[in-house]
Structure formats: C-alpha cells, structure tokens
Symmetry: C2
Amino acid sequence: MKEKLTIVKVGGKIVENDAALDRLIRDFSQIPGYKVLIHGGGRTATDVAAQLGVETKMVGGRRITDAEMLRVVTMVYAGLVNKNVVAQLEAAGVCALGLTGADMDVIRSHRRPAGEVDYGFVGDVDRVDGERLAQLIHGGIVPVMVPLTHDGKGCMLNTNADTIAGETAKALAGFFDVTLIYCFEFAGVLGDPQDEGSVIPRIDRPFFDKLVEEGIVSGGMIPKLENCLAAVEAGVGRIIITRADLLNADLEHGAGTVIA
Amino acid sequence: MKEKLTIVKVGGKIVENDAALDRLIRDFSQIPGYKVLIHGGGRTATDVAAQLGVETKMVGGRRITDAEMLRVVTMVYAGLVNKNVVAQLEAAGVCALGLTGADMDVIRSHRRPAGEVDYGFVGDVDRVDGERLAQLIHGGIVPVMVPLTHDGKGCMLNTNADTIAGETAKALAGFFDVTLIYCFEFAGVLGDPQDEGSVIPRIDRPFFDKLVEEGIVSGGMIPKLENCLAAVEAGVGRIIITRADLLNADLEHGAGTVIA
C-alpha cells in the first residue's frame, strides 16, 4: 500500500493576491502527509515586463517567450513569486523548497520547434526525475515548483504549469498514491456553464465520452480533461478539479470534480 | 577523518559576465568531491532596479534595501542570476540546487535594527541548518546559494554574501573538513597594494596581529580577515583568498592567501 501524496496546482491569480495567498498557505499547510505545490505567476510577469518595457505577446492565450521575456519569467516565477510563497509556507511550519526544473535536473525539456507559431523559449517536458523528488519528499521536504524547466544545455525554458503538474504527478505515481488537485475558477467541471452549483462530481473515461458527445464538455475543457484521464491511466490515483478556497473541503464527495 | 568540502564564494562580477561565468562553471565543476557555491548578483540588481525606476541607495558601500529593492534583489538573485548559474552547472554535469535561506529554512536571520543607518530589509544571520545542508551534500547535491535569508515570519531579507559564506562554512565544519574560498579581485592578500605579485601565502592569528601593527593590512581588510580568523577558530579547516580564475591553481602553495 503506497503512502498518500497530494499535489496542488494553483494559478497566478491565487499566489499573486495577498488575501488569496494567505488562505492558500493556511489551507495547504493543513493538508496532512506528503505534498507538493505548483504555482504560476503570469500576472506579475506581465506587470514586471511592462515596467521593464518588454512587450507581452500572446497567441491563443499562450505567452510568446522571447529572450527578454525568458529573463522576466525566470526572475518573477523563480525569484519574486516563488520565494514569497516559500517564506510564507516556512512561517506556517512547512519545510518548503522552491524548485525549477533546472534544480537537480528534476525536469528536463526541449525547446518546442517553431511550427505555425514560434513560442520562443518554451519547453516541452521530456522527463521528470520522480526518484529524486520522492527522496526529497520522503525526507520531509515539500517541493514548491514553478513553471520553468531547462534543456540540459544551460538554457531555461518556460513551461506550462498544468503540464508540469501532470507530468510530476505521473512521475511520482510509482512512489506514492497520488492525488493531483487542479485549482481553477469554478468548484469543478460544470454540467451547466451558467450554474456554478452544477458541479459534476465524478468523471471517468466512458462518462467523459458521453459528456463530449452531448456537448456538455467542449472547447478548451476537452484537452484539459483528456490530459487528466491520460494521467489517471498512467497511474495517478485521482485528479480533482476545484477552487483553491475549497482545498480542505470534502473534495471526493461533492466539493469538486473527481477524475478517476 | 572528515571528508573534504569546498565552499566557493564569488561576487556578482563573475556570475554576471558571460566569459567569466563560463570559466567559473568549468573550474568549479572540476573541483573534486563535495562542494557549495555562493554567488552575488549586485550589478544586475542595480541595473534591473534602474530599469524599474527603483533608486539604488548605498551608504558606505552597502545597499539600502527598502521594500521595492527587496523585490528586485529577490527577483534578480534567486531568479535571474541563480537559475542561469544552476542551468549552466547542470549542463556541466553538476547536480546543482539553487537555495535562499528561506528554502527548507536553511538560513534564519532577523532584520537588523535601525541604528544610525536603517539598512531596511537586511538580515543578520541567526543560524544555518548545517545538518540539512550536510544531508543534501551527502546525497550528491551541490547547493548554489544566494545572499537572501528569511526571518521565519514570512519576510525575505537581503544578507551579505561573505557573511552567508562564513556562517555556512562554520555550520558545515561539524560535518566536513571545510575549505572556504573567497574569490575577489586580487590573487590574495597583498603585502604591497601596488604589487599584484606580493601575495602573502599564509596568515595565522599572530601574523595577522603583526601585519595590522605594521600597517600592511588596514581599512576594510581588517574586519574581513578578522572574520576569516574567527571562522577558522570556529572549526573551518582553512580559508583561501584568491581570484576566481585561479580556482584550480595550487591554492595552498602560492596561488592565494591561506588563512588557517
């Protein structure tokens, strides 16, 4: 019987707002047992870039990371935002360790080849060193990871935080019974986008196919859920989609969508 | 017989210059056995601060760290400069882990009380967790530390890099036979400030007293050497003052000043 590990991914919105961060620190520090936090920091990056005169270019909701923007996200994610989160977690009694993929080579990626769009210094993950992370976690350390990886040749690469969360969960599934919690703006996957109370409690592969067929799940939610189902099929115990302020609610029984 | 550990402290000048950094990475990666790197990043911090419209205030050569400057040094030291160094070391085959004092609570400090000068968010070190660092180092990890600590209450603090190097060396002296190398602009302590060839090969307490008495050592060099002697008296094996490009020279036999 593997020990439990909880991986929580929160977006920039949470860690960049003092009140929301306070709440996250309190809730996250109360999660029992082994855990990992993965956070973004995109708004601060956009703000700092603007102050530095670096233009933020987005294509289809994704950031184009040129050399100047890579400097900005490296500063903001790994420095400003991460160290604030780490210091707050330490104050709450959590033994937190800030990590990029370059640190101890925990996440190696390669630069995405330019296709129709050249995203610049953006990395697609090749492998996560689950063994190294598991060692740290077993040693009582809580990794606090930012969406940056490296190519093994000295270059940092900007990497999607949801992807980092999913790949890390898969790599750690060999060592722990992993629950991956994606915090987003709703309490879960909604059956009716107009009704926040219509959270679907549980989705498995057959039910997902039905939801897509019926058009209840559509657009960007399809690849998101596809990735979740693939992670579960790769050994992750369960994935929960919920709101950050529900982290300590009864997530498996109504306070979020469980994908398993 | 304790195993050997080499701690190298380099200033911003080295890690902020591409050619000097390349050389440092090559030389540092060739140091055999356990090691730690401590680096600054002050010039980049000053540059980024200027770009962000944050004024750099110095009193007696020391930076005043107001709230805005604390954001800048946190971004630059822990983010931009550290992750570049870590990624380069990884490319050279070193298992590097970037650390501030907040990470795993490795260096706790308190904000320096305002005296004649209020240095702002500057920390004086209370304790270094040598046991945690020794565990990492025995696990094959090379800590790459930046001059930032935390107060244990959620606040990061800017902290002198020489002090971090000295305190870390003392904390690790219980676990290893420690050699601490301070890289600076000359090949060692000079007997004649006009003659770069006049490196004093070895200084102990009685010889230091004589050098001070004769006026050969004066000014800012006196507290620097006092700190070195105190570290040696606290168990650090030896401290070597040299130039970064001499790291792989025969430091104990003429290519630097050994304080022991």
